[in-house]
Amino acid sequence: MGESVNRKSRSFLSPKHLPDASGHFGPYGGRFVPETLVPALMELDREYAKARREKSFRRELAFLLREFVGRPTPLYFAERLTRELGGPKIYLKREDLCHTGAHKINNTIGQALLARRMGKRRVIAETGAGQHGVATAAVAARFGLACDVYMGTEDMSRQALNVFRMRLLGARVVPVDIGSRTLKDAISEAMRDWTANVRTTHYILGSVLGPHPYPMMVRDFQKVIGIEARRQILKAEGRLPDLLVACVGGGSNAMGLFFPFLRDRSVKMIGVEAGGLGIKTGKHAARFAAGRIGAFQGTMTVLLQDREGQVKVTHSVSAGLDYSAVGPEHAYYRDARRIEYTSVTDSDALEAFQLLSQTEGIMPALESAHAVAQIRKLAPRLPRKSVVIVNLSGRGDKDVQQAAEILEGKNAR
C-alpha cells in the first residue's frame, strides 16, 4: 500500500489523471459490486465520458446550474466572525444558498441529465440528512422522472422536515429499518433496488463514494464549488487562500472545494470529520482517526470496522456525516499528505452552529457547522494576514428542530 502511494506521490500534482481508467486512486477506489451491476456501471462510465466532452451537455448543465440552482454562489467575507475569532480573514463559500439548501444539487442536476440521456425514466437515491434526497426529488420533479429515496428510520425521525419536503416534491421515501437505520443501510438498500431494476433505473449516488465512476463523476459535478471560489478569492483578495476547510461525510462538498486547488501547493486543506462524543468513546464517524483500508459498498477505502472486517455503526449529531466510510479519493490525498484530516465533536459543532447564527445571521447545517467549529479552533493560532475559505455546504433550517431539542433540553436542566 505504502509503496504504490510513494510510486504515485508525484502524480497528485496532476490530479486530472486520477482516477486511472479502472477507477483507482492508488490503492483506493475501483469497483466492488455484484456482477449484475457491472454492465450498468460500464454504461454510466461511457455515457458520462461522452457527455462531458459534448458542448451541448456542458451548456445545458451550466444553464441549469445558473437558472435552477442559482449559481454562482457568493464567496462571502464573514467580517464579524473574523473579528470575533481574532485570526485570519474568513470567507464563507455559500453553498447554503443553492436551491434546496445544500451543495448536493450540483451533483443531482448532472446525474439527472445523464439519466435522461440513458433513457432511464426512474431514479433512486439514498439520503442521510435528507439534503441529497431533497436535491434528487427536486431534479426528478424538474425532469419528470419517477423517484424513490431510501432513508434510515433513525434519520427519518431526526430529519422529519426533509422527509416531508421529499414527499411534497413527488418522491416516495422508502424507510430502511435494518442495521443501524442510517445512511449506510440506506445505501445498501438503494444498491439492492438498483440491482433489481438496473435496466430502467439510474442510481443517483450522493457523494464521492461507491463504485467507479461515481467518486470521479460526483467530484466533477461538485468541483464547480472550487472553480468559482478560486476565481472569487482571486478577485476579492488578489491572491490564493492559505487554507480551505470543509466537513467530510462521504466527502463531496470537500472534494468539490479542494479539487481545483490541489495543484496550488501553497493552499492548505483540512477535511473535518464527525468526532461525535469523542474518538475515545468509540461513538463517532472519524474514519481517518480510527479506520483501516477495506472494501465496502462498492469501493476500496478507509472505513470504520472491527478486526473481522464487519463495518461499525457510527455516531454523529449530524446525519450527513454519520457514515462508516470516506470517499476513496480522500484516502488517497490523506496518504499523499496533500489534505489533512481532523475531527470536531458534536458539542463543538453545536457551539459553532450558534456562533455563526449569532455573528453573521447565517444558520449553517450541522454538517457545515463542523467546518466552522474547526476554524474557530484554529483561528487564534493563525496570522491575521492569512485568508481562509470555509465551505458552508448547507443551511441549517433542517436542523433547527433537532438543535432546539438538544439546546433547550440542556438549558432546561
Binding site: 479502472s22 469497483r31 455484484p34 449506510k184 444498491m191 433489481a196 435496466r199 472494501a295 462498492g298 472486517g309
Partner: protein, 266 residues
C-alpha cells in the same frame, strides 16, 4: 482435479444436475451449522455453500440478511468457520464452498485465508462483490492451491464478458437467475432456459443456477437444463422457522425432497 471438478465429472456421468444448498454459517450458531451440513450431505447435497456473515450484505435479500445478523450475534468469525470445516472433514467429504463478501477475506488476510482454507478442507470461494477486474491479488494467492474461485454471471452480463468470466472462474460458473438480490422471485422458466443456454454456449465450465429457487419443484424445473441448482433463501428460511433444535432435521428433510426431485428431473 479439485474435489469440485471431480463432483461435476461424476454427476455428468450419472446424468443428473448437482444439488447445491446454501446455509449461513453460524445461524443460529456454529454447532448447529455442523449438524445442518451433515444432514444436507446425508440428504443428497452434492456440494455445500457456507455463507460467511457480513454486516452489509449488498447482494442479499431480507432472509439472508437476517441470517447474517443472527450469525454475527452468535459471534461467528471466518476463523471459526474454518475450524468448523476442519471438524466436518472428519465426517464428510462433500465439497464445501465459502460464499463471502470480500472485506472479511481482506481483513483475515489473503494469504492467511488461503492457508486456512487448505488446512481445513475448503474447496472454493464465491465472492459476490469481487469482479474479475479487482480479483488479481486474490487469484494470485490462489494459484497452484487447487482451490476454486467461482465467478458469478448475471442476466445483464454481455456475451464478451461471459467469456471473460468463464476464463477466470474455475470449478463451475454461478449463474444468477434474476436481476435482483437473493430470495427474489424466479423469472419465467423458458426465459431462464434460454439464458442458461446462452451461458453454456459461451463457457466450457459447468453452469449452476441460483437466486430465487424456492421449492423442490422449481429446482427440478431448473435442473432439467442446468448443471447445478443452488437453493439458498428457501432453505435458510426453513432453518429460521424450525429453530435451533429442529434446524438440522428440517434442513435434512428439505434436502431429501429437492434431491429426489432433481434425480427425477432428467
Amino acid at each position: 482435479m479439485s474435489r469440485i471438478q471431480a463432483a461435476f465429472e461424476r454427476l455428468k456421468r450419472e446424468g443428473r444436475p448437482a444439488f447445491i444448498p446454501y446455509v449461513m454459517a453460524g445461524d443460529p450458531d456454529l454447532s448447529t451449522t455442523r449438524q445442518i451440513v451433515l444432514a444436507l450431505a446425508r440428504g443428497g447435497a452434492d456440494l455445500v455453500e457456507l455463507g460467511v456473515p457480513f454486516s452489509d450484505p449488498l447482494a442479499d435479500g431480507p432472509v439472508i440478511q437476517r441470517a447474517a445478523a443472527r450469525a454475527l450475534e452468535s459471534g461467528t468469525t471466518i476463523a471459526g468457520i474454518f475450524r468448523l470445516v476442519r471438524d466436518l472433514r472428519r465426517e464428510t467429504q462433500v465439497p464445501i464452498v465459502l460464499m463471502t463478501y470480500y472485506n472479511p477475506v481482506l481483513q483475515h488476510g489473503l494469504d492467511r485465508t488461503v492457508r486456512d482454507a487448505r488446512r481445513s478442507g475448503v474447496d472454493g470461494f464465491i465472492i459476490p462483490d469481487l469482479t474479475p477486474e479487482e480479483a488479481g491479488p486474490w487469484r494470485k494467492t490462489l494459484r497452484g492451491t487447487g482451490i476454486d474461485f467461482i465467478c458469478l454471471a448475471a442476466p445483464t452480463t454481455p456475451p464478451d464478458r461471459l467469456k471473460t468470466l468463464g476464463r477466470v472462474s474455475s470449478g463451475f460458473l454461478y449463474y444468477v437467475s434474476l436481476t435482483g438480490v437473493t430470495g427474489a422471485s424466479l423469472a419465467d422458466e423458458s426465459e431462464l432456459r434460454r439464458q442458461v443456454g446462452r451461458v453454456r454456449r459461451a463457457v466450457s465450465l459447468p453452469v449452476a443456477v441460483g437466486f430465487g429457487i424456492k421449492s423442490a419443484q422449481q429446482a427440478a424445473q431448473v435442473g432439467a437444463f442446468a448443471d447445478g441448482v443452488i437453493v439458498g433463501s428457501a432453505l435458510v428460511s426453513r432453518i429460521e422457522s424450525a429453530g435451533r433444535n429442529k434446524a438440522a432435521a428440517s434442513a435434512g428433510r428439505f434436502a431429501r425432497a429437492v434431491s429426489s426431485n432433481l434425480r427425477a428431473s432428467r
